[in-house]
Symmetry: C2
């Protein structure tokens, strides 16, 4: 059994807890929290919740620590810190800061002889993998990534900061005609507006000026100004009833040419349709926790990304079983 | 530069030649053939064509030998034989015989200290990889593979063996309603007939009994009897004009559940739409030739499949570039 620890018990941590339960070669050994441990109720029976302050008392009980914090302030500190003591896996997703994060984790993990697996999830993660495979196969081609239909937490938060808004949910939606054009191999140049639309469900406070709110949302720079944005005003009840899920997904497509003169076109497409963004991310984290454990058992250490992990490490099955059943 | 040799110069060998040209870290060093070398005209200027009988004179000039023979009789002999002298890559696709082929190649490659990369292409190959990733992420789920729309060489050959048939082309087509049902997460149990239809374009000899030919095709066991099959009689000119390509493709879908009680559904879908089946397979072979070369440079040897290759080995770019550009 691979003994898993979870650091941070929000949506993602709870998702990891569920994923560990689905993998019969793993067990959840402990959850660590910054909150008071007594206040944290987890789903798994008989698994202890500890304060993060006591985490170093448990290094011998845990094979892989899955760090479920945020990318803005938690992971840049936590992942290098705990890579000194544990094999760790995180879902660091600030694309521009990945090289620096890699350096920091690599240094710590090489010193401790542990594996630090970073930026695991679906983007970065499975989407990145598919970009790499598709680029390796079709060097003469063009990449497209579409996100959605799905809830963007950051955009929903931005709407909530508008004066007179009580609650909001924002969906990012790929433009169907653009998706079709790419799939048909026409390799269009697409502007921001041509790739995605944004749909907002907004609960306004009583008496608030809805046209002013709509205008402020639609003109918000970076978040909405460059998109065709639709704003729907609904009640809190409707929001809670129809928009409480956290679905997401998207498409990674490479359109490329082969032949002596590029005479043949090819489309490689990878897509995800996810009812729960955090639970899917958590499921990817669990698979890579298995890989981190096995790679460390073989003597590897240092920072790794999904690009560095041979697929066989991810699977419960033996290499012989994989070749017989899946190749 | 990675120095590539090609063994066997049919559609696949020519595809590898084109793929090598698209990768600026590779060069085509030689083509080896069972035919008389003078009779083989290749596309690349100034690259020699040698008889297969002289291949062992060139072991020092070639980093990776890509073996482009057939799975029925060529590869089971050639891949273990040449793994004694070269890093080799093949596209062995007889799924049931992969374990035996692996054993044979592994023994030879371990003795020689070379890499023998087998079953590279799209199925086995990219489709297998996607099955492994999706199974690792969603252990509670169901796999579906659909092939097409595309030309099945084996089925086309079977039609040509019917009395009165001059030429034929058979397309395998996924049933759209079944594909939709799977995508919608309903995890149906699908019979052979419910997954694919078969469409046949047939050139009959003058005076041949077309209704007898149609009946013979539709009732052919294994090939057509279990499918809804359509037969169109056309002229040789029409066949040559509209059906001379070798397109193919397909879909690998995993539909799975997450959550404490499996309350959330997820769909992972990978699809290929290929104008040229052999050129795409050849492009995958070229990427894995790069991996074979690099892994051998790092001291690895033995038989490998796509499951054993970390994605970073496939790409022209450095690991730093991949993390910066693609993660």
């Amino acid at each position: 059994m691979i003994r898993i620890g979870i650091l941070g018990y929000g949506n993602l941590g709870r998702g990891v807890e569920c994923a560990v339960r689905q993998n019969d070669d793993m067990e959840l050994t402990a959850v660590f929290t910054r909150r008071s441990p007594e206040s944290v109720q987890i789903l798994t029976k008989n698994t202890p919740v500890y304060s993060i302050q006591d985490i170093l008392q448990h290094t011998q009980e845990i094979d892989v620590l899955i760090i479920c914090g945020g990318s803005a302030t938690d992971l840049p500190v936590q992942t290098p810190e705990y890579a000194k003591y544990f094999n760790v896996v995180d879902s660091f997703d600030t694309h521009a800061s990945i090289p620096q994060h890699f350096e920091n984790v690599d240094k710590a993990a090489k010193e401790s002889g542990k594996i630090g697996m970073i930026s695991v999830g679906w983007d970065p993660g499975m989407f990145s993998l598919n970009r790499v495979y598709a680029n390796a196969i079709l060097p003469d081609g063009k990449d497209y990534t579409f996100w959605g239909k799905g809830v963007s937490q950051g955009h929903s938060d931005a709407i909530r900061r508008v004066d007179g808004v009580i609650d909001a949910r924002q969906y990012t939606i790929p433009v169907p005609a653009s998706l079709e054009a790419v799939r048909n191999g026409s390799t269009p140049e697409l502007s921001t507006r041509e790739k995605h639309t944004r749909e907002c469900y907004v609960v306004a406070s009583e008496g608030a000026d809805q046209s002013r709110i709509e205008k402020e949302i639609k003109e918000m720079p970076n978040y909405f100004a460059d998109y065709d944005t639709t704003v729907h005003f609904i009640s809190q009840e409707e929001l809670d009833k129809h928009h409480s899920g956290i679905p997401h997904g998207g498409f990674v497509i490479r359109s490329g040419k082969t032949g002596w003169n590029g005479e043949h076109g090819h489309i490689i497409e990878y897509s995800l349709k996810l009812d729960s963004n955090p639970e899917f991310t958590a499921s990817v984290l669990a698979a890579y926790a298995r890989a981190a454990y096995r790679m460390n058992q073989e003597g590897m250490c240092g920072c790794k990304t999904v690009f560095d992990v041979a697929p066989a490490y991810l699977c419960r099955q033996s290499n012989e079983e994989l070749r017989r059943q899946m190749l």
